[in-house]
């Protein structure tokens, strides 16, 4: 039997995306938690960072949070765990965080400690070999099984770890763990399962803590919350003086960013929250009982992949003439035709977003037949080279000026240009993999490393 309870402090739901708030963090640290943990990744940020091997979070903010967490964890002599390092969990992001930890330790003259880390990137060659051996790489969320052509179009793949590499590194004595891409909940579940608590409660603990104060009210991100697990329940408490974890806020968070509030899939099984019971246990604390966990028959690991579509430029035009507003599609068709005459039908992409009509929602917009009195049109051109992307975009933008509408009164220029140029944007990527792959050993895609950090 484990100790009566363990307490987990989480200061941030996506470390680096915005800095943690220090007051509630220190308030939580003073209560002497048993672990300090935060997830640092998200696939919310689009496919660009994974594909281009960059972070969307500024290094200053990443360092700010890592520094606060490391100093507190070493002072309390409790483990610190970070999952999905640097937004994507790619290998370079893990290395970046490990180097930051070493640097912070050196600057503060911290006593020696052990750092463990693991990588999550999967070479395309490994996936290809399994496909050629007849293994299906199964599509999620309505996607077909992975085709070789889609794999070829992929620049970088990460596998999403379960609890396994975290448990293994804790077994090896790691004081600090920097994880590659992982399911958010498993960084909390791993130490709880390892300490002997029921899997269902351990994974639920992770679910409820992974976004920090998003499970509290009133709304306010980046504030610290503390979760406590026992053999029979999970309790979650807000640390900010004005925030509370209520039945409504905690249950509400169970739905957040998920297609269904009842199930959560991780490598190795499924958490079922259908019969969760929520009750207010004190003013700032909600108690949860009743989740269940079903181990899966085979272990399937989720793969995320991003592939470059091309270089990208952006143009912008405004439209005020009511006749032109009503015929904006003809203006766009004219500009598209000029691009087609120069570059042909394919080998590039040209996208128009018509703000003031359906720029935000596209085809999902119910009011697309009721445009405003003025429109803003954002033009995106994507092509294999910068030069071509620029020319596609400037043609697709400037030719709107020359569109030939039969009854337009203004014949000196069909659109307004706030800029007489197009602007280079980051290259365009797309999510090529949202699939699962079977593994025999849950550690086989996640090489482990351990080292001592000395002054």
């Amino acid at each position: 039997m484990p100790a009566q309870t363990l307490r987990f402090l989480c200061p941030n739901g996506h470390l680096g995306f915005a800095p943690l708030k220090t007051d509630s963090f220190f308030r939580g640290v003073r209560s002497r938690p048993d672990f300090i943990l935060a997830d640092s990744g998200s696939d919310d940020i689009g496919p660009g960072p994974l594909g281009s091997d960059t972070s969307t979070s500024p290094q200053e903010w990443q360092r700010h949070d890592l520094e606060h967490m490391l100093l507190a964890a070493r002072d309390l002599e409790v483990p610190m765990i970070i999952g999905s390092a640097g937004d994507t969990g790619a290998n370079s992001r893990v290395d970046l965080y490990v180097a930051m930890i070493r640097d912070i330790a050196r600057r503060h003259g911290l006593a020696p400690f052990r750092i463990g880390w693991f990588y999550s990137e999967v070479p395309a060659s490994l996936v290809r070999a399994r496909m050629l051996a007849g293994e299906a790489i199964t599509g999620l969320d309505g996607r077909p099984d992975l085709a070789l052509a889609e794999l070829e179009a992929t620049d970088r793949i990460v596998a999403v770890a379960g609890v396994h590499p975290y448990k293994a590194l804790l077994d090896q004595g790691a004081d600090v763990i920097i994880g590659g891409r992982s399911s958010d909940s498993v960084i909390f579940a791993a130490p709880a399962i390892r300490a002997g608590y029921p899997e269902a409660l351990a994974y639920y603990l992770g679910k409820v803590l992974e976004c920090a104060s998003f499970n509290a009210e009133p709304y306010g991100g980046k504030e610290t919350v503390i979760g406590e697990i026992s053999m029979t329940d999970v309790k979650v408490t807000a640390m900010h003086p004005a925030q509370r974890c209520t039945v409504a806020s905690v249950a509400g968070h169970a739905m957040y960013e998920r297609s269904n509030p009842f199930y959560e899939h991780v490598a190795g099984g499924r958490l079922d929250m259908t019969h969760c019971f929520y009750e207010q246990s004190d003013e700032k604390t909600t108690r949860i009982t009743g989740p269940s966990f079903t181990p899966s028959e085979e272990i399937r690991v989720k793969l995320e992949g991003s592939g470059k579509v091309g270089e990208r430029y952006v143009g912008f035009v405004g439209i005020r003439d009511p006749y032109t507003v009503a015929h904006v599609d003809e203006v766009i068709d004219w500009a598209r035709q000029q691009v087609r005459e120069r570059f042909g039908d394919d080998g590039y992409q040209l996208h128009y977003q018509v703000y003031g009509r359906n720029g935000v929602m596209g085809d999902l917009e119910p009011l697309k037949d009721r445009p405003g009195h003025e429109l803003g049109v954002l033009v995106f051109g994507v092509a294999p080279t910068r030069e071509m992307a620029e020319e596609v975009t400037i043609t697709g933008t400037r030719q709107m000026f020359y569109a030939r509408l039969p009854e337009v009164k203004g014949t000196a220029g069909g659109v307004a240009f706030p800029l007489d140029e197009v602007v280079r944007a980051s290259p365009a990527y797309r999510w090529t993999l949202n699939h699962t792959m079977r593994v025999d050993d849950p550690l086989e895609l996640f090489p482990l490393h351990l080292d001592e950090v000395r002054p």
Binding site: G46, A248, A251, Y256, S259, V360, D363, P366, R430
Partner: protein, 110 residues
């Protein structure tokens, strides 16, 4: 008792929001602050798979989940995105501004 009184969902709900659920889906949450209002809207039948599909101009096969979630006093549904988040041409990388049409749904309250 009044007859034919209707109120907008935007007035009745505490929270109406949309957000990515993974890279291929957008999920919508409609959350109420009290059980009576939640039950009223649930019973009213104005929020169904069919009504939501019609509002967004999509087939019901594009809706992956439609559930009511009593502990959170919430109605929740999830749709498949037209294209994965952040693909060229996607105007809402986080899926955060797709809920607005729900605000104007009229709910009979008598």
């Amino acid at each position: 008792m009044s007859v034919g009184v209707r109120r907008r969902l935007g007035e009745l709900a505490k929270t109406v929001r949309s957000k990515n659920a993974g890279v291929d889906k957008i999920t919508f949450d409609i959350i109420f602050s009290d059980r009576d209002t939640y039950e009223l809207v649930k019973r009213s039948g104005v929020l169904t798979m069919a009504s939501v599909a019609a509002l967004y101009g999509i087939g019901e096969d594009r809706i992956s989940d439609f559930v009511t979630f009593d502990p959170a006093l919430a109605i929740k549904f999830t749709i498949y995105r037209p294209a994965p988040s952040g693909s060229p041409g996607d105007a809402d990388i986080f899926g955060a501004q797709q809920y607005a049409p729900l605000l104007d749904i009229e709910v009979p309250i008598d």
